[in-house]
Point group: none
Chain length 155, copies 2
DNA sequence: GATTGAGTTGATCTATAAGCCGGATTCTGT
DNA sequence: ACAGAATCCGGCTTATAGATCAACTCAATC
């Protein structure tokens, strides 16, 4: 699950996982995915089911009053949306409008899906090109020194 | 896998791995290769399957909230493209246009393939000559102090 | 000079993404 | 409670990009 593809979101906010990624998910016995916010950039993250399970449970188990941790919990856990294969073997995601807004995605518009191995990122196409060419983004959300408790989780 | 060859990219962006490298890959039981960006220079890297597996999994396991790590993950994982032997025993790569742009490769044009032992590099022929004669390249992309976590990975 | 293997180019075919449409279900307002 | 409207969900069609297949040319070797 590497490399990137640009696909389009239809007028209803639906997004279809490209076949090459879908097949790999299926071959790894993943049956679902979770979409949520990227805590740092105006982008979305897609985690395969098993990865999501471990990340979300690790995040949930963190206690304490550290504002950064709580922020991450809100951002990541509070915005997640789970999808799975449809009867025809396809995988459609209906992107909640809050996530669309967050990632600055207007429909219908092109988005880039970036395969990072064990997860994907979804970017507004223009923002992704900006990133790739080193341009400045309008927003970079989280810029902090990470507490020890978060360092072992690879978001 | 050492030495140097120049081959050509056709109008469709196809690139054929030369036989001498192919045979070595096969004799080492490598069944696939991964092409991706070189993080420092306008060039591409080709890793044999097993090498790619270890590099990519190490990269994935790093904490992605670190901006430098994240950048490397984007550059290397997000631009990778995996190919394998075709039924005829040859190995063709369809170079994504973004990688062509990155390495400043226009088609049809000659590229240089440099064997570096456990990996290859692909350069625009002119840029490679520049490099060899000590001339300045138009771009050097990544110029940073590497965090400890990255030093053990040999890209 | 002939033959073989390799690099390169051209042509065809298949899978798939994208857009469109219609049915079903839910929500809302009267 | 009912009707209208909007939204959601699956099916279908078409254009396209990727993959496979095939052929040609050049170079090297015997």
């Amino acid at each position: 699950m590497f490399g990137f593809t640009t696909i389009s979101i239809d007028a209803k906010g639906r997004l279809a996982i490209p076949a090459k990624y879908r097949d790999q998910l299926r071959s790894q016995n993943e049956e679902s995915i979770a979409v949520t916010r990227d805590p740092q950039y105006p982008a979305l993250k897609i985690y395969p089911g098993s990865i999501w399970d471990s990340i979300s449970s690790e995040l949930q188990s963190l206690q304490g009053l550290d504002p950064i941790v709580r922020n991450l919990q809100w951002t990541i856990l509070g915005n997640a949306s789970v999808s799975s294969f449809d009867p025809k073997g396809r995988m459609l995601i209906l992107l909640p409008s809050e996530l669309q807004d967050y990632a600055e995605i207007k429909k219908p518009e092109k988005v880039s899906i970036i395969g990072m191995g064990n997860k994907f990122e979804v970017w507004n196409e223009k923002n992704w090109e900006m990133r790739q060419t080193g341009g400045a983004l309008s927003t970079e959300i989280l810029e902090v020194v990470l507490p020890e408790s978060l360092k072992k989780i690879s978001f």
